[in-house]
Symmetry: C2
Amino acid sequence: MAATPADVVEYPVSYVFVVDMPRIRASEIKVQIENDNVLVVSGERKREKEEGAKYLSMERRTGKFLRRFALPENANVETVTAACQDGVLRVAVEKVRPPEPKTKTIKVKAR
Amino acid sequence: MAATPADVVEYPVSYVFVVDMPRIRASEIKVQIENDNVLVVSGERKREKEEGAKYLSMERRTGKFLRRFALPENANVETVTAACQDGVLRVAVEKVRPPEPKTKTIKVKAR
Protein backbone atom coordinates (compact mmCIF):
# COMPACT_ATOMS: atom_id res chain seq x y z
CA MET A 1 0.00 0.00 0.00
CA ALA A 2 1.35 3.40 -0.94
CA ALA A 3 1.97 5.90 1.85
CA THR A 4 -0.49 8.78 1.79
CA PRO A 5 -0.02 10.98 4.86
CA ALA A 6 -2.69 13.64 5.28
CA ASP A 7 -3.42 16.80 7.23
CA VAL A 8 -6.92 17.99 8.07
CA VAL A 9 -7.23 21.75 8.48
CA GLU A 10 -10.23 23.73 9.70
CA TYR A 11 -10.76 27.25 8.41
CA PRO A 12 -13.48 29.68 9.50
CA VAL A 13 -15.67 28.75 6.51
CA SER A 14 -14.32 25.38 5.37
CA TYR A 15 -12.42 22.16 6.03
CA VAL A 16 -9.41 21.26 3.89
CA PHE A 17 -8.00 17.73 3.51
CA VAL A 18 -4.38 17.81 2.31
CA VAL A 19 -2.87 14.53 1.09
CA ASP A 20 0.73 13.95 -0.07
CA MET A 21 0.65 12.13 -3.41
CA PRO A 22 3.99 12.37 -5.15
CA ARG A 23 4.01 11.36 -8.83
CA ILE A 24 0.25 10.96 -9.09
CA ARG A 25 -1.53 12.92 -11.78
CA ALA A 26 -4.90 14.56 -11.14
CA SER A 27 -6.52 12.15 -13.62
CA GLU A 28 -5.40 9.15 -11.55
CA ILE A 29 -7.02 10.25 -8.29
CA LYS A 30 -10.63 9.45 -7.35
CA VAL A 31 -12.38 11.70 -4.83
CA GLN A 32 -15.81 10.57 -3.61
CA ILE A 33 -18.36 11.37 -0.92
CA GLU A 34 -19.99 8.32 0.67
CA ASN A 35 -23.37 8.54 2.42
CA ASP A 36 -23.05 12.33 2.60
CA ASN A 37 -20.61 12.07 5.50
CA VAL A 38 -17.38 10.34 4.46
CA LEU A 39 -14.74 11.68 2.08
CA VAL A 40 -12.95 8.88 0.20
CA VAL A 41 -9.71 9.48 -1.70
CA SER A 42 -8.31 6.57 -3.73
CA GLY A 43 -6.00 5.70 -6.60
CA GLU A 44 -2.96 3.73 -7.54
CA ARG A 45 0.69 4.68 -7.58
CA LYS A 46 2.61 2.70 -10.17
CA ARG A 47 6.32 2.28 -10.66
CA GLU A 48 7.48 3.54 -14.02
CA LYS A 49 8.34 0.60 -16.27
CA GLU A 50 11.12 1.39 -18.66
CA GLU A 51 13.11 -0.89 -20.88
CA GLY A 52 16.70 -1.47 -19.81
CA ALA A 53 16.06 -0.14 -16.28
CA LYS A 54 17.58 -2.04 -13.38
CA TYR A 55 16.63 -1.01 -9.83
CA LEU A 56 19.66 -0.72 -7.54
CA SER A 57 17.53 0.62 -4.67
CA MET A 58 13.76 0.74 -4.26
CA GLU A 59 12.36 2.72 -1.31
CA ARG A 60 9.43 4.55 -2.89
CA ARG A 61 6.21 2.73 -2.14
CA THR A 62 3.74 1.79 -4.81
CA GLY A 63 0.33 0.22 -4.97
CA LYS A 64 -3.29 1.10 -4.43
CA PHE A 65 -4.24 3.50 -1.70
CA LEU A 66 -7.50 4.50 -0.09
CA ARG A 67 -8.08 7.07 2.64
CA ARG A 68 -11.36 7.79 4.36
CA PHE A 69 -12.12 10.93 6.34
CA ALA A 70 -15.26 11.31 8.45
CA LEU A 71 -16.78 14.66 7.59
CA PRO A 72 -17.89 16.97 10.39
CA GLU A 73 -21.64 17.49 10.77
CA ASN A 74 -21.54 21.00 9.36
CA ALA A 75 -19.73 19.96 6.15
CA ASN A 76 -21.61 20.97 3.01
CA VAL A 77 -21.13 18.02 0.65
CA GLU A 78 -22.61 20.05 -2.23
CA THR A 79 -19.56 22.32 -2.29
CA VAL A 80 -16.53 20.03 -2.54
CA THR A 81 -13.59 20.99 -4.73
CA ALA A 82 -10.34 19.10 -5.32
CA ALA A 83 -7.05 20.21 -6.86
CA CYS A 84 -3.64 18.58 -7.25
CA GLN A 85 -0.32 20.46 -7.48
CA ASP A 86 3.32 19.47 -6.89
CA GLY A 87 2.23 16.01 -5.75
CA VAL A 88 -0.22 17.33 -3.15
CA LEU A 89 -4.01 16.89 -3.30
CA ARG A 90 -6.21 19.49 -1.57
CA VAL A 91 -9.90 18.75 -1.08
CA ALA A 92 -11.92 21.68 0.26
CA VAL A 93 -15.35 21.24 1.82
CA GLU A 94 -17.30 24.33 2.78
CA LYS A 95 -19.14 24.55 6.06
CA VAL A 96 -22.91 24.84 6.07
CA ARG A 97 -23.70 28.42 6.99
CA PRO A 98 -25.68 28.82 10.17
CA PRO A 99 -29.17 30.24 9.42
CA GLU A 100 -29.28 34.03 9.42
CA PRO A 101 -30.64 35.27 12.72
CA LYS A 102 -34.19 36.48 12.19
CA THR A 103 -34.56 39.97 13.48
CA LYS A 104 -37.93 41.54 13.97
CA THR A 105 -38.09 45.16 14.92
CA ILE A 106 -40.88 46.30 17.16
CA LYS A 107 -41.86 49.85 16.84
CA VAL A 108 -41.79 51.74 20.06
CA LYS A 109 -44.84 53.90 20.40
CA ALA A 110 -44.68 57.18 22.15
CA ARG A 111 -47.46 57.48 24.71
CA MET B 1 12.99 15.22 9.41
CA ALA B 2 10.85 14.99 6.34
CA ALA B 3 10.44 11.61 4.66
CA THR B 4 12.21 11.42 1.31
CA PRO B 5 12.10 7.86 -0.04
CA ALA B 6 14.23 7.31 -3.12
CA ASP B 7 14.81 4.80 -5.91
CA VAL B 8 18.11 4.36 -7.70
CA VAL B 9 17.81 3.08 -11.25
CA GLU B 10 20.56 1.99 -13.61
CA TYR B 11 20.10 2.42 -17.36
CA PRO B 12 22.52 1.30 -20.08
CA VAL B 13 24.03 4.79 -20.32
CA SER B 14 23.11 6.46 -17.01
CA TYR B 15 22.06 6.29 -13.38
CA VAL B 16 18.85 7.98 -12.24
CA PHE B 17 18.09 8.95 -8.63
CA VAL B 18 14.35 9.38 -8.07
CA VAL B 19 13.23 11.09 -4.85
CA ASP B 20 9.64 11.65 -3.67
CA MET B 21 9.26 15.28 -2.64
CA PRO B 22 5.61 16.24 -2.41
CA ARG B 23 4.91 20.00 -2.19
CA ILE B 24 8.51 21.03 -2.79
CA ARG B 25 9.17 23.43 -5.62
CA ALA B 26 12.23 23.06 -7.86
CA SER B 27 13.62 26.33 -6.46
CA GLU B 28 13.61 24.89 -2.92
CA ILE B 29 15.76 21.83 -3.68
CA LYS B 30 19.55 21.82 -3.59
CA VAL B 31 21.42 19.20 -5.64
CA GLN B 32 25.19 18.98 -5.14
CA ILE B 33 28.11 16.69 -5.96
CA GLU B 34 30.63 16.27 -3.14
CA ASN B 35 34.21 15.19 -3.83
CA ASP B 36 33.23 14.00 -7.30
CA ASN B 37 31.65 10.85 -5.87
CA VAL B 38 28.65 11.67 -3.67
CA LEU B 39 25.32 13.09 -4.79
CA VAL B 40 23.70 15.23 -2.09
CA VAL B 41 20.04 16.29 -2.25
CA SER B 42 18.77 18.66 0.43
CA GLY B 43 16.06 21.16 1.23
CA GLU B 44 13.30 21.97 3.65
CA ARG B 45 9.65 21.09 3.60
CA LYS B 46 7.55 23.68 5.41
CA ARG B 47 3.99 23.56 6.60
CA GLU B 48 1.81 26.21 5.03
CA LYS B 49 1.04 28.90 7.59
CA GLU B 50 -2.32 30.47 7.00
CA GLU B 51 -4.33 32.77 9.16
CA GLY B 52 -7.38 31.22 10.78
CA ALA B 53 -6.17 27.67 10.10
CA LYS B 54 -6.57 25.08 12.85
CA TYR B 55 -4.99 21.64 12.36
CA LEU B 56 -7.40 18.83 13.30
CA SER B 57 -4.92 16.17 12.10
CA MET B 58 -1.24 16.46 11.15
CA GLU B 59 0.41 13.41 9.56
CA ARG B 60 2.49 15.02 6.81
CA ARG B 61 6.09 15.37 7.90
CA THR B 62 7.95 18.61 7.65
CA GLY B 63 11.48 19.81 8.30
CA LYS B 64 14.85 19.75 6.69
CA PHE B 65 15.98 16.73 4.73
CA LEU B 66 19.27 15.58 3.31
CA ARG B 67 20.00 12.46 1.30
CA ARG B 68 23.40 11.27 0.17
CA PHE B 69 24.00 8.75 -2.58
CA ALA B 70 27.43 7.25 -3.28
CA LEU B 71 28.03 7.51 -7.01
CA PRO B 72 29.33 4.47 -8.89
CA GLU B 73 32.90 4.71 -10.20
CA ASN B 74 31.79 5.13 -13.78
CA ALA B 75 29.48 8.09 -13.03
CA ASN B 76 30.32 11.18 -15.06
CA VAL B 77 29.85 14.08 -12.62
CA GLU B 78 30.17 16.59 -15.47
CA THR B 79 26.83 15.49 -16.92
CA VAL B 80 24.33 15.73 -14.08
CA THR B 81 20.82 17.01 -14.74
CA ALA B 82 17.95 17.43 -12.27
CA ALA B 83 14.24 17.99 -12.85
CA CYS B 84 11.20 18.12 -10.58
CA GLN B 85 7.63 17.24 -11.62
CA ASP B 86 4.50 16.24 -9.69
CA GLY B 87 6.46 16.23 -6.42
CA VAL B 88 9.16 13.90 -7.73
CA LEU B 89 12.81 14.87 -8.25
CA ARG B 90 14.83 12.99 -10.90
CA VAL B 91 18.60 13.41 -10.98
CA ALA B 92 20.29 11.79 -13.97
CA VAL B 93 24.02 11.07 -14.07
CA GLU B 94 25.52 9.75 -17.27
CA LYS B 95 28.04 6.94 -17.26
CA VAL B 96 31.56 7.56 -18.43
CA ARG B 97 31.83 5.94 -21.84
CA PRO B 98 34.39 3.20 -22.04
CA PRO B 99 37.23 4.14 -24.41
CA GLU B 100 36.53 3.20 -28.00
CA PRO B 101 38.31 -0.02 -28.87
CA LYS B 102 41.30 0.82 -31.04
CA THR B 103 41.24 -1.20 -34.16
CA LYS B 104 44.20 -1.40 -36.46
CA THR B 105 43.76 -3.15 -39.73
CA ILE B 106 46.68 -5.04 -41.15
CA LYS B 107 46.66 -5.37 -44.82
CA VAL B 108 46.96 -8.91 -46.00
CA LYS B 109 49.38 -9.16 -48.80
CA ALA B 110 48.93 -11.65 -51.54
CA ARG B 111 52.14 -13.62 -52.15
